[in-house]
């Protein structure tokens, strides 16, 4: 496989031709923030946090789904990108009801960490405060749409790692929501295997183990990567 050479933030980087900018940057020790990206499942480029600038290309490119190209000059943290990233995170916070202080994921939340890293000290947009349900019908797990950022990590995990296809996205735009089966209560799902991988995949407090209280929701996402590596490469690396 041919190697490509490009620069990321002025640093000369070599990458395999099927690698994404995100993978090449991470291999070179350059951090690009992500939210919908999850090791082990396909990327969808939905959250727009990993947008990067490439010299000579007008539009911004999502690093998670853009393959490396020979000679590209990539910038990952220009002033403009930092501004956009903060705006993306603010919009996520404004859209639903993210109240970190009383959230089960407080202290272990990727959205919260992002807010800190992009310097979000307040939200400039009007909070939408939608009235959304919490589904506690499942014996083991709960789903709180108020805290969902629609990254679809749970959906992809359910389809591509577990293979059950229970979770999906219904609706359009701000009315989008994660559903189980054909929008039945999770507890009534006939396809869910209760494997819990979706809960492990969730970056926020939207999916949680029933009975956890504030700040108790910790998860080990390494399990997902372990399963995928074991299945695809026949390597059982803990």
């Amino acid at each position: 496989m041919a190697a490509k050479t490009l620069t990321i933030d002025g640093q000369m980087v070599g990458a395999a031709e099927d690698q994404t900018i995100l993978e090449a940057a991470r291999d070179a020790g350059i951090h690009i923030p992500t939210l919908c990206h999850l090791e082990g499942v396909q990327d969808v480029g939905a959250c727009r946090l990993c947008l990067v600038e490439v010299t000579g290309i007008n539009k911004l490119l999502p690093a998670c789904v853009t393959k490396v190209t020979e000679g590209w000059e990539v910038r990952t943290s220009s002033e403009r990108l930092q501004r956009y990233r903060r705006m993306v995170v603010e919009l996520l916070f404004a859209e639903r009801n993210h109240v970190c202080a009383v959230c089960v994921a407080n202290g272990h939340c990727e959205l919260q960490n992002l807010a800190v890293s992009v310097g979000m000290d307040h939200v400039r947009f009007d909070y939408q405060h939608p009235r959304l349900d919490v589904d506690l019908s499942h014996r083991l797990f709960g789903m709180d749409h108020n805290r969902c950022v629609l990254c679809t990590r749970c959906v992809r995990t359910c389809w591509y790692i577990e293979g059950a296809g229970t979770l999906n996205v219904a609706g359009r735009g701000e009315k989008s929501k994660i559903i189980t089966d054909l929008n039945a209560p999770w507890g009534d799902s006939t396809t869910c295997t209760s494997c819990g991988k979706c809960v492990m995949a969730c970056p926020t407090g939207a999916l949680f183990y029933r009975g956890v209280t504030v700040a108790e929701m910790e998860r080990d996402r390494g399990h997902l990567e372990y399963i995928v590596t074991a299945r695809e490469k026949k390597q059982w690396i803990v």
Partner: protein
């Protein structure tokens, strides 16, 4: 022509309120009202949340007494889980509540109230505060601040943080007490005890110089309510409700917490966001009762620890049967600090306290549950209804400050009538200060106590310069 004097805002209390004093033509006080002008709404917006979040959400009601809400909430959840929590967890919750009582009472006495009677009512507001106290009596101010720190550290050692620890959970608590934590608490005790005893000595002197305040600061017969255990001892975490009358006669006892609706009714006034609970058998507003330190000391047979019991004897000389003056809330508060420190001293010697079995696990076994504990300001009640899945369907909170609402109104009117008499000119500032200080006896926490939604009316009055009400609208 009536004239209305407004004290707005009322300072050195927790929350936002104002006082209206209505004067008649002769300039005498016709009536006085304590209005709570802030609204919180926790009873409403907790609906739909999973039960397990409640001990995390409800402590956010207050930054002074989050532990009270934490414990009352966790107990309501225990009732819904229908579990008996591990003994170590129950003891640790008690320990945290004692820390909470110490810190909140120290704040009320030293930071908020003592500047009035230690620096003098005539001292300008700019220096009649804890900073003025620090300038006049630095040792006392330091002792008070450190006493509060002790209580806060007990909370932090157990819950990991001083304010809003999400430590008590349905079925128990999250983290154990470590040996190191126990040693830290123990090391504090001699200083905390000495500071409290010095403050009690000081307040006894204050009482001698403030006989008039003792007579007119909310000195009226009323009922008192608090938790008591089976032996009638001072109780702050478990037990049952007990009511005594103004002469100290027990009129209701062994009332299970879950049956609170049989004895407590809740009335709503149009000029305040604060509900007015009353003793149901006597109706509204005759069933006025007081809660908090004064009430707990009137309700209990004994404190149950030697130093506090000795002080309780002295305290009881101020009443016949029950102590009725609200000015003595301050004294009662200090005695409770003393008792709490003694109890902490006993608890840290208990080997059970370091146990590691801390949490009972269960699903939803009851569709409703009531939890009560004694918050520093009085009895606190959390009552939840849940769906079979454990989603909150209804919340009723009965907060200490609400239960003192009727008594605070009465206190304000009594003080105003005494100090404001037939003045036609300006009403002197120190007079108004006393009215405000009357409210401070109760250490009200308004942020804690204004949650009901959909049951409150709003009343608008358009008042002309000469006092005539020219328009009135209600909704």
């Amino acid at each position: 022509m009536t004239r209305r004097v407004v004290i707005d805002p009322v300072t050195r209390i927790e929350g936002h309120a104002k006082i209206s004093i209505f004067l008649d033509d002769a300039g005498n006080v016709a009536d006085a009202k304590f209005h709570v002008v802030e609204f919180r709404g926790f009873e409403k917006f907790c609906e739909g949340r999973p039960l397990g979040e409640m001990p995390g959400i409800t402590p956010r009601i207050c930054g002074i007494c989050p532990v009270s809400h934490l414990l009352a909430s966790a107990k309501a959840c225990d009732a819904i889980l229908a579990v008996s929590i591990p003994p170590t967890a129950a003891k640790l919750r008690r320990l945290m509540n004692l820390g909470q009582i110490v810190q909140s009472h120290a704040l009320s006495f030293f930071h908020l109230s003592s500047p009035d009677f230690l620096l003098g009512w005539e001292t300008p507001p700019a220096s009649r505060n804890v900073f003025g106290l620090a300038a006049r009596n630095p040792d006392l101010a330091r002792a008070g601040i450190r006493l509060r720190q002790f209580g806060q550290e007990v909370i932090e050692i157990l819950g990991g943080r001083k304010i809003h620890p999400a430590w008590a959970v349905p079925g128990g608590v999250r983290e154990p007490l470590t040996e190191e934590g126990r040693a830290r608490i123990k090391a504090w005790l001699p200083e905390a005890l000495a500071s409290t005893q010095a403050a009690i000595q000081l307040f006894r002197d204050v009482l001698q110089k403030h006989e008039r305040e003792t007579q007119v600061f909310g000195n009226f017969p009323s009922l008192f309510m608090g938790l008591a255990n089976d032996d009638g001892l001072w109780e702050h975490y478990d037990g049952h409700f007990r009511f005594v009358d103004a002469s100290g006669n027990v009129i209701a006892d062994h009332v299970e917490v879950s049956r609170y609706r049989e004895v407590i009714g809740e009335a709503v006034e149009s000029d305040s966001y604060l509900k007015s609970p009353f003793y149901k058998p006597m109706g509204y507003p005759d069933g006025l009762y007081r809660v908090g330190p004064l009430a707990r000391l009137n309700v209990c047979r004994r404190m149950g620890t030697p130093l506090a019991d000795a002080e309780l004897e002295r305290f009881r000389r101020y009443g016949r049967g029950a102590v009725n003056s609200s000015f003595l809330y301050h004294y009662a508060r200090l005695i409770e600090i003393l008792g709490a420190i003694e109890r902490i001293g006993q608890m840290v010697e208990d080997a059970d306290l370091l146990g590691s079995h801390l949490r009972a696990d269960a699903g939803i076994n009851n569709l409703e549950g009531v939890g009560a504990s004694e918050a520093p300001r009085g009895t606190l009640l959390h009552h939840y209804h849940v769906s079979e899945e454990g989603l909150i369907r209804g919340v009723n909170l009965i907060i200490a400050t609400g239960q003192n609402n009727l008594a605070m109104n009465r206190t304000v009117a009594q003080i105003a009538r005494h100090y404001i008499q037939a003045t036609t000119g300006e009403i002197p500032e120190p007079m108004l200060n006393r009215v405000e200080a009357g409210i401070r006896c109760y250490d009200p926490c308004l942020s804690c106590s204004t949650h009901a939604d959909g049951r409150l009316g709003l009343d608008f009055e358009l008042v002309a310069a000469d006092g005539r009400i020219i328009a009135h609208a209600a909704r």
